[in-house]
Symmetry: C2
Subunit: 145 residues, 2 copies
């Protein structure tokens, strides 16, 4: 049987209260829930969850080495915006919330507009706009036909 979709992304964090406060500040009306020591942020489409890094490693059960704090983890999370103006407004908000701005939003080689910031644990977020993208009625991303 194949996997139909993703449902949750869990970020291992150094300080659960700090990470929860940050995401509460930058996500639109997140109905944040605490459950069994996990912060669940049930965003439309896929949930973001926050869990102490050591506990996530323990849950995986095999011997894993913890990554060094605030290092690039080889991946990024992204939000595709409707306009460049929306991106600039979001960056203003996340900067106020204490995000590190890694790349000021700018034109990209692929004809879009994009910037990066990091959360308090150093996880990278891209906020991007591109004219090749549109959104389904449900708000999911899709390529323009």
């Amino acid at each position: 049987m194949k996997i139909p979709r993703m449902t949750v992304i869990t970020l291992g964090v150094a300080d659960l209260a700090r990470a929860t406060a940050f995401y509460r500040e930058i996500f639109a009306t997140p109905p944040i829930t605490q459950y069994e020591g996990v912060t669940f942020i049930p965003l439309p489409g896929v949930w973001l969850s926050l869990y102490p890094l050591e506990k996530l490693a323990e849950d995986i059960a095999e011997e894993v080495e913890l990554p060094a704090p605030n290092t690039f983890r080889g991946f990024s999370l992204a939000y595709n915006a409707r306009s460049k103006e929306e991106i600039m407004n979001i960056f203003s908000r996340v900067a106020d919330a204490g995000a590190h701005i890694a790349k000021i939003p700018q034109d990209t080689f692929w004809g879009g507009f994009s910037g990066y910031f990091t959360d308090p644990d150093g996880y990278y977020w891209e906020v991007a706009w591109g004219q090749m993208f549109e959104f389904t009625e449900h708000g999911d991303l899709r390529f323009k036909a």
Copy 2:
């Protein structure tokens, strides 16, 4: 302005063809698209995208050190299944596709059932079932009322 949701998760990979082949094998009917050197897998809810690790680091623009290959990156991706049987069927499939089984599906301390595997780059996936979860008409995860 606050961020309403996530739209894409991008994994930096060592070998784009290898990673694309793996995910083609384990995802249900993924309408995979190649665009500007990126593999886009438009899953319902949030897209998964695959991009060479060095290029992802370049896109971020600031000096970042690349993580060592096949190390724990501090996060996990997850799929919430409808039943324990679905989980076992998925693990059979991903094992055939060459995934490393990090944790054989088993009962969890929170009353659920869950296992972990890694993709060819060592990114961790959890497949879990829990009686506290249900799904919206659109297929998004939610807590039972």
